[in-house]
């Protein structure tokens, strides 16, 4: 491989890496959601925690993104919102990522 070809591949990889970071940044931003006046991240930890607590509690407490305590008295509603938000963000990321991957070397 000559040096120009190597540079072309390197440039393309750089562009892909920056594009991927921006897509991920957008997805992380889209995970942020508001539920009953409080801000949450619909990330895997939050979803797992809510799901685990929901199994044995009809009502429990969570910390919002600023570490303020929030009473959750409708776990099903909250969990649905979190999953909906997370999957919307990741679906959007997935679609854009597939386009990015399809760029040929």
């Amino acid at each position: 491989m000559d040096i120009n070809e190597l540079k072309r591949h390197s440039d393309l990889s750089f562009d892909r890496a920056v594009a991927k970071k921006n897509l991920l940044s957008r997805a992380e931003s889209e995970l942020i959601t508001v539920y009953r006046d409080h801000i949450f991240r619909a990330d895997a930890v939050t979803i797992s925690t809510v799901r685990a607590l929901k199994e044995s509690h009809d009502q429990f407490y969570m910390l919002d993104s600023n570490s303020n305590p929030v009473e959750i008295d409708n776990p099903a509603e909250f969990l649905n919102l979190l999953i909906e938000r997370q999957q919307a963000a990741l679906n959007s990321y997935h679609q854009a990522y597939q386009s990015l991957k399809s760029l040929k070397d």
């Binding site: 440039d11 750089f14 562009d15 890496a17 920056v18 594009a19 970071k21 921006n22 940044s25 957008r26 931003s29 889209e30 942020i32 959601t33 508001v34 006046d37 409080h38 801000i39 991240r41 993104s65 600023n66 303020n68 959007s92 854009a96």
Partner: protein, 249 residues
């Protein structure tokens, strides 16, 4: 509760900010669907061809400030609580382009006042790291979301106080950037109003396009930019564009 967006827009000899505002207002109306109030001066309004359908507030703005060696007229933000006709206000820089509706959700929280504490360079060269030279955590006054409450008024009063004695507060917090910056003024005010402890923030990072990135094109949902020979695209994500030349694209 009436919600709306407030912008400050003052042309300088170098930048026709009203042209940027035209773009920004269109995006706000499309994505946020909120009424807009623009605080400007008579000089800017006189040069504004086909002014948009917004509420204008005309003031005599302070013109004694520079940023990166150029005139920079953005000293009135501390009066946003008085200028805003809304119960819940989103203040944004005119060069903050809303490509999404995400700011809307922050108007539905119990918080009186929200601000970002993080921003990142979308070209991923960490071009914004110089912003952190001080003793206190920096905030980004690019976007403010507030309700008209006693707590919020105390914050804005504190910002006015910081503005009046800015050099003193720069020394106190070891800020080496001596020209007035809203980011530092709000950071200091929030630090003092919250008893020198942390406060509630928007848990997001402002996507920022640095000065040295050229905007190639944009539409209602995306923007293409170039840094050296690298071309990239931001889509569906709000973007703070620091290169004011993009109005000429």
């Amino acid at each position: 509760m009436i919600k709306g967006v407030l912008m400050y827009c003052f042309d300088t000899d170098l930048v026709a900010y009203h042209c940027i505002a035209d773009i920004s207002i269109g995006l706000v109306k499309q994505h946020l669907g909120l009424p807009v109030t623009v605080v400007t001066n008579q000089h800017t309004l006189d040069h504004w061809q086909n002014p948009p359908d917004v509420n204008f507030i005309i003031i005599n703005n302070d013109t004694n400030n520079t940023k990166l060696g150029q005139p920079w007229y953005n000293l009135e933000r501390c009066e946003a609580i008085d200028h805003s006709p809304y119960d819940c206000t989103i203040v944004i820089d005119v060069d903050y382009l809303c490509f999404s509706k995400k700011l809307l959700q922050y108007t539905e929280t119990a918080h009186d006042f929200l601000i970002h504490s993080a921003a990142h360079d979308v070209s991923y060269r960490q071009a914004l790291t110089y912003e952190r030279k001080s003793m206190l955590p920096l905030v980004w006054a690019t976007v403010l979301i507030f309700k008209k409450t006693d707590k919020t008024r105390r914050i804005f009063d504190a910002v006015k106080l910081v503005k009046s004695y800015y050099q003193h507060f720069c020394n106190l917090y070891r800020i080496d950037y001596k020209n007035f910056r809203n980011d530092y003024a709000f950071a200091i005010a929030l630090n003092q109003c919250n008893g020198y402890h942390e406060y509630d923030i928007i848990p997001d990072s402002i996507a920022t396009l640095p000065h040295d990135c050229a905007v190639l094109s944009y539409n209602n949902v995306s923007l293409n930019y170039r840094y050296l020979d690298k071309i990239n695209r931001i889509e569906g994500q709000d973007l703070h564009v620091l290169n004011k030349g993009f109005v000429n694209v």
